[in-house]
């Protein structure tokens, strides 16, 4: 083949791939669409009871017509109870796909969890979400795990009243509740997210509210069933800076009130620094560095993390040009079997030409995937 390593793909090749994809996705879909699956099939045990959520070697692939995209390729991390875990990385690095895998909201049939475990702690028992059929998943969504989406302007249904949309979640997960109780709870939720005139807002349609207000409603909707885990998928990206600060303040305040864990997905390091207890840095579908927020921020080890920190504007520092990491993310189809960051890395060592680097423990909590620290985990990041 002349154009071996370009994006070019022949029609025949594409047909063969899509045929194979259909075969694979059909099988996986069939498994997911089963009804009345015994609970024992997805019952599991947490490795550490103090965690709400454990991702264990999660693989989520997208079966596209040009080949399989490994959007999440062996991701493992934990979300401890009552803590905030921040997940950072550039667009397309798989941070949202990880959370969508947890909710089983992947764009099917092309997006599928291929292997790995997602252990979710329900208090008295634990489920492996990766094995759960959609039918059973419904009782988890919005109830045990809820999600705050990126786009407040479009994530509320335009044809239903705010009140109806809130009531719907409560009724769904609390079937025994009377109508007045449900309404009262919705109004309380609207009050809780700091909106005055809750009764008035209850009667409104989404288009009558501003972006910040809508995001508050989305947050109220996520909190209304007292979930154990809240996924905030770039909750402030679409908002202007003053509203951003308000929403973050609100999230922090609410976390204390309802004692939930938060998975905060963002590409804004400032937001992470402000909110997170733990930080996970992802690059091209894999975790490159994870640890306590203080460790990752004060002592970043992976060249990618260091690059991210450097490309953030800093007040009181004069530079001609803001730093940017050279090069771009490799083609997600047919990833190479060496460190994905190698071609952009300025700090390569000899070993980098070999296989993908294993995890190196810098401290008990601080883990980095880089050959530079393989022999000497205590080596400084900028040496």
């Amino acid at each position: 083949m002349a154009k071996k390593d370009s994006n070019f793909i022949s029609a025949r090749e594409s047909r063969r791939i899509s045929k194979e994809n259909i075969k694979i996705t059909k099988k996986l879909d069939k498994k997911l669409n089963r009804k009345h699956v015994p609970e024992s099939e997805y019952l599991t045990k947490m490795h550490d009871e103090s965690n709400v959520l454990e991702f264990d070697d999660l693989h989520t692939y997208f079966f596209t017509d040009v080949g399989t995209v490994k959007a999440v390729d062996g991701v493992s991390y934990n979300v401890p109870a009552g803590k905030t875990v921040g997940i950072v990385g550039e667009s397309g690095c798989g941070k949202s796909v990880t959370s969508l895998s947890l909710m089983q909201l992947l764009q099917r049939p092309s997006g599928q969890i291929v292997s790995g475990e997602i252990r979710l702690n329900l208090g008295d028992k634990a489920y492996d979400v990766a094995k759960m059929p959609i039918d059973a998943m419904r009782h988890i969504r919005g109830n045990v795990v809820s999600m705050i989406f990126q786009e407040p302007m479009t994530s509320l249904n335009p044809v239903f009243r705010i009140g109806f949309q809130l009531d719907e979640v409560i009724q769904l997960h609390n079937p025994g509740m009377s109508e007045e109780e449900v309404k009262q709870r919705s109004i309380d939720a609207i009050k809780m997210v700091g909106i005055p005139d809750a009764e008035g807002i209850y009667q409104r349609y989404p288009h009558e509210l501003s972006g910040g207000m809508r995001q508050r409603i989305v947050i109220a909707m996520a909190l209304v069933c007292n979930p154990r885990l809240i996924i905030a998928d770039e909750p402030t990206t679409a908002l202007d800076v003053t509203i951003q600060a308000q929403i973050l303040e609100l999230l922090r305040e609410l976390k204390g009130k309802i004692n939930a864990s938060i998975m905060l997905i963002t590409h804004d390091l400032g937001v992470i620094a402000e909110m997170a207890d733990y930080v996970v840095v992802m690059y091209a579908g894999r975790i490159v560095e994870k640890g306590l927020a203080s460790e990752v921020f004060l002592d970043p080890r992976h060249p990618y993390t260091i690059g991210l920190m450097e490309s953030k504007p800093v007040i009181n520092k004069t530079v001609d040009r803001l730093y940017s990491i050279p090069g771009s993310v490799p083609n997600p189809v047919n990833m190479p079997d060496y460190c994905y960051f190698r071609d952009r890395c300025e700090k390569c060592v000899e070993r980098c030409s070999g296989k993908y680097p294993p995890e190196v423990h810098v401290s008990d909590t601080h883990i980095v995937s880089c050959w530079r620290y393989f022999d000497d985990p205590k080596r400084g990041g900028n040496e």
Binding site: M147, F149, S155, N157
Partner: protein, 332 residues
């Protein structure tokens, strides 16, 4: 709201008057004139007996049919009569326009009502299912079927249906007509059943012709809605898929569908000329075409004005229905 409606009604009135003036002008400018045709016929009949010549007949008839005025005066006279409720007598059929219209319109209305009802109950579920399983075998099947329906010419489809159901399978006894041979001898209930049987093929033809468009339209709109963020939100809430589709998605798909369907209202009454001709149903499409070709001014004018008014009403209805299904356009 009232101000809005009054303004719309006023605008509609102007459109109706101007529209009928244009039609009147076109009718007067047509190369085939009813008066000329009549004069030629009578002159030919009286030629042997030495009666009036063509020219004399023409003068006489032009006066009798009030065609000796110019277009504007003619239109004003016509409009004056219409305002007094007098649509005149059909030239071709020789009976009052309204009576003739009343005789034929119901065939078309019944035919089209059944067709539209069928279309809606078939197309919307099909479109939704196709959208839910995008690029599946079912979706491709629907697409092929829809394209087939859109591209088949009426006469071909009608012939095909007749050949299959009447000649080969013999499920239906007559090739055309609205009543069977022994219609008069049947009891009242059987008479209705007999007419119903004769409606089957025309309804099937009309429905198949229109199914493609509406199915594709529903599918496209449903797909757009299904990819919206609020559908993901609905799923993230834990709603069962059935509720997500039937409630959250369908309510939003309804918005474009309402405007599409309001255009179907005038088509209820406008008849379908080709299908009616092929099955020899004396509906309005068939009769109005004949009247127009013959230059029957009163009948054509009434028919077009009726269509104009209906179109205006349906447009207004669409505006109101929009407000019903979409809270964003509600006027306070």
């Amino acid at each position: 709201m009232w101000k809005f409606i009054v303004r719309r009604v006023f605008l509609a009135l102007i459109i109706v008057v101007l529209g009928s003036f244009i039609i009147y002008g076109v009718m007067r400018a047509m190369p085939t004139s009813f008066v000329e045709a009549q004069a030629r016929q009578r002159a030919a009949a009286s030629a042997t007996t030495g009666g009036p010549t063509y020219k004399e007949w023409l003068d006489q008839l032009t006066k009798a049919y009030h065609m000796d005025t110019d277009v504007v005066t003619g239109f004003v006279n016509w409009l004056g009569n219409v305002i007094q409720g007098d649509f005149g007598t059909s030239w071709k059929y020789g009976v009052p326009v309204i009576q003739k219209f009343n005789d034929v319109i119901w065939y078309s209305v019944v035919l089209n009502c059944i067709t539209i009802f069928l279309e809606i109950i078939i197309c919307i579920p099909l479109g939704i299912q196709a959208a839910r399983h995008q690029y599946s075998g079912f979706d491709y099947g629907i697409t092929v079927f829809a394209m087939l329906c859109i591209s088949l010419p009426t006469f071909f489809l009608a012939t095909l249906l007749k050949y299959t159901f009447v000649i080969k399978l013999k499920w239906i006894e007559d090739l055309y007509g609205i009543v069977g041979r022994y219609h008069e001898q049947l009891s009242q209930g059987d008479q209705i059943l007999d007419m119903m049987r004769h409606m089957i093929l025309p309804v099937l033809t009309l429905a198949m012709l229109n199914i493609g468009g509406l199915t594709r339209y529903t599918r496209t709109n449903m797909l757009e809605v299904l990819n919206a963020d609020y559908i993901r939100t609905a799923r993230a809430k834990g709603l069962p898929e059935r509720k997500v589709i039937n409630k959250h998605a369908f309510r939003n798909t309804l918005i474009p569908l309402v405007s599409y369907m309001s255009y179907l209202i005038p088509s209820l009454f406008s008849g379908s000329m080709i299908t009616e001709t092929l099955y020899q149903i004396p509906g309005i499409g068939y009769i109005a075409y004949d009247a127009m070709v013959a230059g029957d001014l009163p009948f054509t004018m009434f028919y077009s004005m009726f269509g104009l008014i209906l179109t205006q009403i349906s447009l207004m209805l669409a505006d109101i229905m929009y407000a019903v299904v979409d809270p964003r356009v509600r006027v306070n």
